[in-house]
Amino acid sequence: MTDEASVRRLPSQLVGGWETGLLILLVLLYLGGAFVNPAFFGSTEAFHALLRDSSRVGIIAVGMTFVIVNKDLDLSVGSTYGLVAVVFARLFAPSFLDLGIVTSVVLCLLLGTVIGLINGVLVTILKVPAFIATLTILFIGRGFVLALTHGQSIYYPAKATEHPLFFHLGETNLLGFNNQIVIFAVVAMVGAYVLAKTRWGYETFATGGNIQAAAYAGIPTNWVRIRAYLISSLCAALAGLMSAAQDKGVTPLYGVSGELTVIAAVIIGGASILGGRGRVAGSCLGALLVVLLDKVLREGWPITRIIKIGNEEVAVNAVFSLPVGAVPVFLGLLLILAVLIEPYLIRRQVAARLWAWLRGRPPPPAYEIGGIAIESVQTKGAMTTDIALSATGLGTFLARRDALAIILTVVLWLTGLALRPDYWWNLSNSFAILLNYTELALITIGLTYVIAAGDIDLSVGAVLALAGSTAAYFLKVLGADPATAVAMGLLAGMAAGLVNAIVTVGFKLPAFIATLGMFYIARGLAAWFVAGQQLTGWPEGYNLLGRKVNDILLHYRISLPDGLLRSVAEVVSVQTIWMLLVALVAGIVLAYTPFGQKVYATGGNVRAAAYAGINTNRVRFLSLILAALCATMAGIINVAYFRSFNPVAGQFRELDAIAAVIIGGGSIFGGYGTMIGALAGAAVITLVRALLQLNVQGFAMPQHWINVFIGLILIVAVLIDIWVREVNLFGRLRAKLARRAPATDTTHA
């Protein structure tokens, strides 16, 4: 081929080999499904349903492609989708605001814009890591959904019939297929062309490939990233409106773990979590694949079960299906595997090399991959002047990174006392707070190591639930003795930690994506274990792990004499003692031993630490394992304390724990964090929760709003960390003012 010919035929930007492969896989999978379960997959009805349900996921995936190509992440899409549907219901439903259809739709789109803008501004201008900013927005959005629905469904079928123009969008049209498919096709076309063929798209690829080079080339990278977040949120809002049009109502469960489905779809579609790669066509096919997989898993597959009736064995056709909540296990696994595809298969050209090897040809030349390092978030804030050295007395304390947490703890406690002097000071209340504190503090201990080493663990709450449900399952279903149950709980939690550590350290993936996958896997497994069963009522011997010291002594028929010792034993729980013991050991190791210093060195500058002969992989591995171990212990204790396993155990705990570490002086960029600070941070979060639940003169804050509030606290804590501790915004302002003051003086003189 001559040069001229190769120039004339430009390579396609819209589709490539990856998309072809996906399409073939999809067809094979569908045919396989039709073969195994013809009743479900064999009909055009089913195919139509697949396309219809993929439409909404696909539309969000189109928006998400822009964000991921930018090397960002938007975890808030699922909750945006749900929130828009709920807000639409609140605005439109006759039982609430009863607004007109146009007003409602416009307000919903406005809401989507605002969420996208908040995400974008947080990530770009305020420099909050994308995963932490959008995760917080996810939790806040979910809190709003619960608060606005009060956990109940809202339906408005009667009023919907008055506005056929809008609600027809969710229904089957004259040509026999659903209008949502048309909307999906239009969005996908526009998205594909914009990303592949326009300056907007080229700017997106440049920003994702090398943000510094893009900025030097005059590309407004902040605007490019904010724009992607806007597109993503608006796509989610559009999908939310489509679901409202289809269902003419909303339940609070809309969009739960929707971000998982969408991100998995985009990554399977060939986009790189490391930025700079991705095509809209691939993302759409990925969405089809994930939705198909989801349907297969939910529908189950037919099996023949042999049932004995009397002496006769009868073959009965049955359907083997997964319990509710187990599907995220597979989607989470899929996410982790899909994330590994890009760096390990595509970038290393495994397919091309294998093909060359089969034909006995030399392998194709390797890509230049030196410039793109697979590293987790390792940016450092700007330098601060070292205030601590020049400060004296009270100043020395205020310059400590954990001062904020310690002061807040005292202030919050005094606030509680002022609001309810009759109740707050009460022993029972104090120890109720202490018990809540124990669980959070235990998780925080491990997370402090992970954050100080420059990683993150988003799965701690889910690992807590996994360990608890495993222990409960062994106790109740398998009738195991307490020691076995504890061992199995530990084993399950450790296995989760091991997977986290191997994927993060061994495969060099960013910690947030590996632990995000584990977040869904562990929570799904926990739901799977308890499916359909009330896991409660087992030997009291196990429950001693969560009892007060005196109860344990009584269990072994030891009764203490009246006096101080007995009073203490009556109020102190064994888990609190255990937590303090773990905290003491972990705190000493972190502050005073070489291992602790290695953790800080790794978090501060991983390359310098490696040059100095520190095995940074080992440090990060052990930290992630420790975080899982602490969460596991908290889960085992949680089950013992409640004498049952509740599937919502540990929910939002990852949010609490990360907030606690950051408030306590940790940096989201790594290298900082102390045990005292983290414990104080955990106290702050516990007290905030306790205060919000406090009934002051007949008014109590609804439970649903509390998570919104905690999410706000996390964002504020991260912002304080970045802008006050790292950039020293106040110091700069003071310096600026000081410089201005003498200047004005001289002009007067």
């Binding site: 330098m383 070292d386 978090g603 630490a609």
Partner: protein
């Protein structure tokens, strides 16, 4: 005559070859370094300066040739092995942990310990001694490195290097990120090290720095030796000429050039 007065070389590299794929980065390169000598290694971009140094420290493996340290043949597989025989490299970006203080950085990865714990008293005392020996002023060993200026950070990196009691220190573009004042201070520090008998190799684009403190300057061009001069016998014009138009055929060693 000159050779007899000179001690045995601390580092000698002979006939070093290195190729990256189809690119021949080094062709039969020789290098000699004597104790207490400051050798400037200069050349255009892609001349092979950094590659040669990385082979010396063990970061890269040579294809052919020999390396002797104090007369012993060596083959380092990693920078840690070269550190064990007293060769230290200071990287352009210093490789320090900004979140830790000066003392902790000087002893990064090998903090002195007492039992299970870090011996902080000893660590800070020794860090202070090392800094005093360098005659650099860093306010306090308790200061976080990220709050130090670029020049001070480099002082910490050098202090870290010499705390290993090295015989050879390699500085990769040490003045690239420094202010004029900081450069002055660095050059003083290098002379101080020389007084203590530490041999130094300085990779630099700034000939002026090499002429200020160097004893000898060696020029590489496209992976080959093209000349070697004593600083006393030459000037920057001649060195520039060698960098631009020197060839292997008319390359002279420092001794040959002096003999003329």
């Amino acid at each position: 005559m000159l050779d007899a007065a000179r001690p045995a070389p601390i580092v000698e590299m002979r006939g070093i070859e290195k190729a990256f794929g189809a690119v021949q980065a080094l062709r039969n390169v020789d290098l000699v370094l004597y104790p207490g000598e400051i050798l400037g290694l200069v050349g255009d971009n892609s001349a092979g300066k950094s590659t040669l140094m990385k082979i010396l420290t063990g970061a890269y493996q040579r294809d052919a040739g020999q390396v002797f340290v104090a007369g012993q043949p060596v083959h380092f597989r990693s920078p840690h092995e070269s550190r064990d025989v007293g060769i230290e490299m200071i990287y352009q970006d210093f490789a320090l942990c900004g979140n830790m203080d000066v003392g902790q950085n000087i002893f990064l990865g090998r903090w002195p310990r007492r039992g299970f714990f870090i011996n902080r008293r000893k660590m800070y005392a020794e860090a202070d001694t090392v800094l005093k020996r360098l005659k650099v002023d860093v306010n306090s060993v308790f200061q976080k490195v990220e709050s130090l200026s670029g020049g001070r950070q480099q002082s910490v990196a050098i202090a870290r290097a010499i705390s290993f009691e090295p015989r050879v220190v390699i500085l990769d573009e040490p003045t690239a990120n420094l202010s004029v004042m900081a450069t002055e201070r660095l050059l003083e520090t290098m002379l101080e090290l020389k007084k203590q008998g530490v041999a130094q190799i300085i990779i630099s684009h700034r000939l002026i720095d090499i002429f200020a403190v160097g004893d000898r300057v060696m020029v590489l061009k496209r992976g080959e030796n093209v000349g070697d001069r004593f600083v006393k016998d030459t000037d920057d014009r001649e060195v520039l000429e060698i960098i631009v138009s020197g060839t292997r055929e008319n390359a002279q060693t420092a001794d040959e050039a002096r003999a003329i």
